[in-house]
């Protein structure tokens, strides 16, 4: 079922009436949802770059001067979409009892010897973009590396002007950081 732009806006904000929300949840999915969402989001952001893909709350993969970068709706840019954007974020790592208790008091607290709660924050606006709960020492999780060209070429049937290989380039950041260590 097609969903109007106004309803989509309210749906995402959590303010759409429940009967309509339920109808959208339970109804057949609309084939043009992506285009409708893209249009809505493009209107909502305050910068001109074309959104190629909404990545997660507040983050978008956008076309910027021939590159594809991850950008926050506040305008902060995280760099090439193929490098894990988290590596360019600010982080609060909850790795001791006191910092964990702020979120998980008493019986609910994980064990800081085993678990680390990593909060990735936008350096531009301070919004919390992701919470990662992993074993201490586990590499930063690269949640999603979408294959944008396959998506646009094969799935949407409207290829983008330039193709970029979908390969994990996070190691480029690590190499830079590791240079002084070698």
């Amino acid at each position: 079922m097609a969903v109007s732009k106004d309803d989509l806006r309210d749906l995402f904000a959590g303010t759409l009436a429940w009967d309509k929300t339920k109808e959208i949840i339970s109804g057949p999915k609309d084939d043009d949802r992506f285009e409708a969402v893209l249009e809505l989001l493009q209107e909502q952001v305050r910068w001109p770059e074309r959104i190629l893909l909404p990545l997660r709350e507040h983050l978008y993969i956008v076309e910027s001067g021939g590159s594809r970068i991850v950008k926050c709706d506040c305008g902060h840019e995280f760099g090439d979409w193929r490098r894990n954007w988290k590596m360019s974020a600010a982080i609060i790592a909850r790795d001791d009892i006191a910092s964990m208790e702020e979120i998980y008091p008493g019986l609910r607290r994980p064990d800081p010897n085993l678990c680390e709660i990593r909060e990735f924050i936008c350096p531009g606006c301070g919004v919390l973009l992701d919470v990662e709960s992993v074993p201490v020492g586990y590499p930063v999780v690269f949640d999603a590396l979408p294959d944008i060209d396959v998506f646009y070429d094969d799935w949407l049937g409207r290829p983008l002007e330039d193709h970029q290989d979908c390969e994990d380039r996070t190691a480029e950041i690590i190499s830079k950081w590791a240079k002084p260590l070698l």
Binding site: A90, V127, G137
Partner: protein
């Protein structure tokens, strides 16, 4: 035990002939042929041009509706016959129709984890030439609960029945029911202190247990001699057999009405149609690419009274998960880097992993009532041999809790798919769930019968937040979507305990702009019990490491926990009619601390301990993940949470950055909007002041790894994954820029 043969059915019974399947093939030949057809064409049964369903869509819909109605009626029949609260209250059962070669055509609602597993049993029977060596005849009954054949754990018993039409085997009907007692080592059907197969209890290895719709007398005697709850087990079988017969009857009616050729062709086309629909759903709702997450599995076996002493070791295993959504809509799950298997009952199996994928994929993608094997055909699992997800040889191992890693893996998988739904704009489809653990008992019940005492009110799990609304409070057990808690009074009839409280626990929630549902802790006081032990029951192996279930800036729910209060003053409180213990309260100063007595704070795998009347068992699950930055939570939604006891002022301020007060004159909560806006702005500034660049954190953490300055269990966990995978080793060392020789100090 005799089940009356269906009147009129005799007309369809005729002596088995060889071969018994269509077109003169043996079942083994038919199975091999179907597999060849699929490999050659990529279409189920080689159906490249479906026509039977398309030629007459109305007739096709009628046909499918009749199948589904038969299955639902069969499932309800079982619930009428069974006495087990697992069946009657919680509905831990399902029933399916299969092709002669064991491929699922249609499945009832319920625990749809078994769609493929039950078919695997049929195929195992075919591959082991039951057709000739054992015999497959009209009215035969087969049982299987052996996970080395297929399935999730021995407590899930499959009742399998062939359906014949004029001498030809045309289908199978299979019912699964979870049993409370399978004769396992104490405390029951999902024990922890079992590492060897014998402690699993009774295993039926796809055995023929009856003929002519009648259970063999010797099998009935075997059950009576082997189980404490033989009556419950046999009544469940009676219910399952009745359901199978009912579905078989209906299949015969459908064939009579639609014709045999239509039945066979349309059944197979339903599978191929669903395969195509599943690909279409994936291509409509997701975005191709690579998605990742990680599951830690914690096994605390050192203190378990196991029979095989090398098993007494606490350890953690890592399961990295990579999902690839391919150009053609195929979805591949790759577990490269999963740690080694171990001596405990929590190793998964390929069949168990397919089971987890089945219910997760059905409930989140293929939920239109037409789920069958076709829902799984576009999906694939890559399970490293020798890993905790795929031991080389499962036969020596106990298999009571295969569920634990399966739930941990697929609850996160739902979050991975949710990220893809977000990108595509289908935020309402985002969802996570979470496994739970609790306490089970064994001992003499209030009627003087010694038996396992496992209550499974699985409806108490909160559901994960979606991208458009909060998760359901309770009702988040994806394993069986229609689940509920059941009636307390019924559980109390079955267990020597009294339920002291069923209240939502606000601190169980995963925080976020949309929060997860709240969960309901189990709070049971032993009552009229004798010689009873309590121990853990594990439906998820993450404990001190929270599962990574937050979405888009939401937090995962907090740690779950078990507490046992022993030698309490509850009897005296009852005598004085003073308040008892009913709810957790604040997790930093829980209500149970005011009870006089011994307080045991336990992890999810506590070994068996003695408990007595008036001892209290508390099992609190954590909820899955919230969605979005909690500082963006709608203030009216927060106010409603406060009104409903699903948040308190501390949660409002610390988590949501909101200031709320109870207006005593109206006894209503009010949120101060202006001060909240100021506080939230301040919190964002505080975050930025407190946060560091990831590069700084990376250097600090790298130093710890280089120095071996992390917990020894974690270092051993990483080593285990490195032993299993060069790719994991390379990526791990590359990420941290570690020298090739790095071992973290582990030899």
């Amino acid at each position: 035990m005799t089940i009356q043969a269906t009147p009129g059915l005799d007309a369809t019974l005729s002596p088995a002939r060889d071969p018994i399947s269509e077109t003169g093939r043996t079942l083994a030949e038919l199975l091999a042929y179907r597999r060849c057809q699929y490999d050659a064409t990529g279409c189920y049964a080689g159906i490249t041009h479906p026509h039977v369903l398309n030629d007459d869509p109305v007739r096709a819909e009628l046909f499918h509706s009749r199948l589904l109605a038969a299955l639902i009626a069969g499932r309800e029949t079982t619930r009428m016959v069974s006495a087990s609260p697992f069946v009657r209250e919680v509905a831990e059962l399902a029933i399916g129709i299969y092709t002669p070669e064991g491929d699922n055509i249609a499945q009832s609602p319920g625990i749809q984890v078994h769609i493929r597993c039950m078919g695997e049993v049929i195929q195992w029977m075919i591959e082991h030439d039951y057709e000739h060596e054992v015999g497959i005849d009209p009215g035969d009954l087969f049982w299987c609960n052996d996970p080395t054949v297929a399935g999730m754990h021995p407590a899930d018993v499959y009742d399998i029945m062939p359906v014949f039409w004029q001498g030809e085997l045309v289908a199978w009907v299979c019912t699964v029911i979870m049993e409370m007692d399978i004769g396992a080592v104490s405390p029951g059907c999902m024990p922890i202190a079992n590492v060897e197969r014998a402690t699993d209890g009774m295993r039926f290895v796809a055995e023929k247990v009856g003929t002519n719709d009648e259970l063999r007398h010797d099998i009935e005697l075997k059950i009576k001699n082997s189980l404490d709850m033989a009556d419950i087990f046999l009544l469940d079988r009676k219910g399952a057999i009745a359901a199978n017969i009912r579905v078989r009857q209906e299949i015969c009616r459908i064939i009579d009405e639609f014709g045999l050729d239509f039945f066979k062709e349309a059944g197979r086309e339903l599978i191929e149609e669903e395969r195509r629909n599943q690909i279409a759903r994936i291509r409509q709702r997701t975005v191709p690419g690579r998605y990742r997450n990680v599951v830690p599995l914690e096994f605390y076996m050192a203190d378990q009274p196991v029979s095989w002493l090398p098993a007494r070791k606490d350890h953690i295993r890592l399961v990295p998960v990579e999902m690839r959504i391919e150009r053609d809509g195929a979805l591949v799950l790759d577990f490269e880097g999963a740690g080694e298997w171990g001596w405990h009952p929590f190793n998964a199996t390929p069949s168990g992993m397919w089971g987890g994928l089945a219910f997760s994929a059905v409930q989140t993608l293929a939920y239109d009532g037409r789920a069958n094997l076709g829902s799984l055909l576009p999906l694939d699992l890559r399970l490293p041999t020798g890993s905790v997800l795929n031991p080389e040889d499962v036969r020596p191992l106990a298999t009571a809790s295969i569920w634990a890693p399966v739930i941990d893996v697929f609850s996160l998988w739902c979050g991975m798919v949710a990220n893809s739904y977000y990108m595509r704009g289908f935020r309402e489809e985002m969802f996570t769930y979470r496994g739970g653990s609790g306490l089970q008992m064994a001992g003499y019940d209030q009627y003087g019968t010694r038996r396992p005492l496992l209550a499974a009110p699985t409806g108490n799990f909160g559901a994960g937040a979606t991208g458009v609304c909060d998760g359901l409070d309770a009702g988040g057990a994806l394993i069986t979507a229609e689940v509920d808690l059941g009636n307390t009074e019924i559980w109390e009839c079955f267990m020597p305990y009294l339920d002291l409280g069923r209240r939502f626990e606000p601190y169980s929630v995963g925080w976020g702009r949309f929060r997860s549902g709240a969960s309901i802790p189990t709070t049971a006081m032993l009552h009229r019990s004798t010689e009873t032990i309590a121990a853990g029951v594990v439906g998820g192996a993450a404990e001190y490491i929270l599962p990574n279930l937050g979405l888009g800036g939401g937090y995962p729910g907090g740690r779950r926990f078990n507490v046992v209060l022993r030698n309490t003053d509850i009897a005296e409180l009852i005598e004085r009619r003073a308040p008892l213990y009913h709810e957790l309260g604040h997790p930093a100063s829980p209500e149970f601390e005011r009870i006089d007595g011994e307080i045991l704070r336990l992890h999810h795998m506590p070994p068996p301990m003695e408990v007595n009347d008036h001892d209290i068992l508390i099992a609190s699950v954590g909820s899955p993940g919230g969605y979005g930055d909690p500082l963006e939570r709608d203030l009216e939604a927060l106010r409603i949470d406060l009104e409903e006891g699903l948040a308190d002022p501390e949660i409002a301020e610390n988590i949501y950055g909101a200031l709320a007060e109870l207006d005593p004159s109206r006894n209503e909560w009010e949120v101060d909007v202006e001060r909240t806006e100021d506080l939230r702005a301040a919190r964002r500034r505080e975050r930025l002041a407190r946060a560091v660049p990831v590069e700084d954190w990376w250097r600090r953490t790298r130093e710890r790894l280089v120095d071996g300055d992390i917990d020894a269990m974690l270092l051993e966990m990483y080593q285990s994954s490195m032993k299993m995978s060069e790719a994991f080793t390379s990526e791990f060392k590359q990420f941290w820029a570690l020298p090739d020789a790095w071992t973290g100090g582990v030899q």
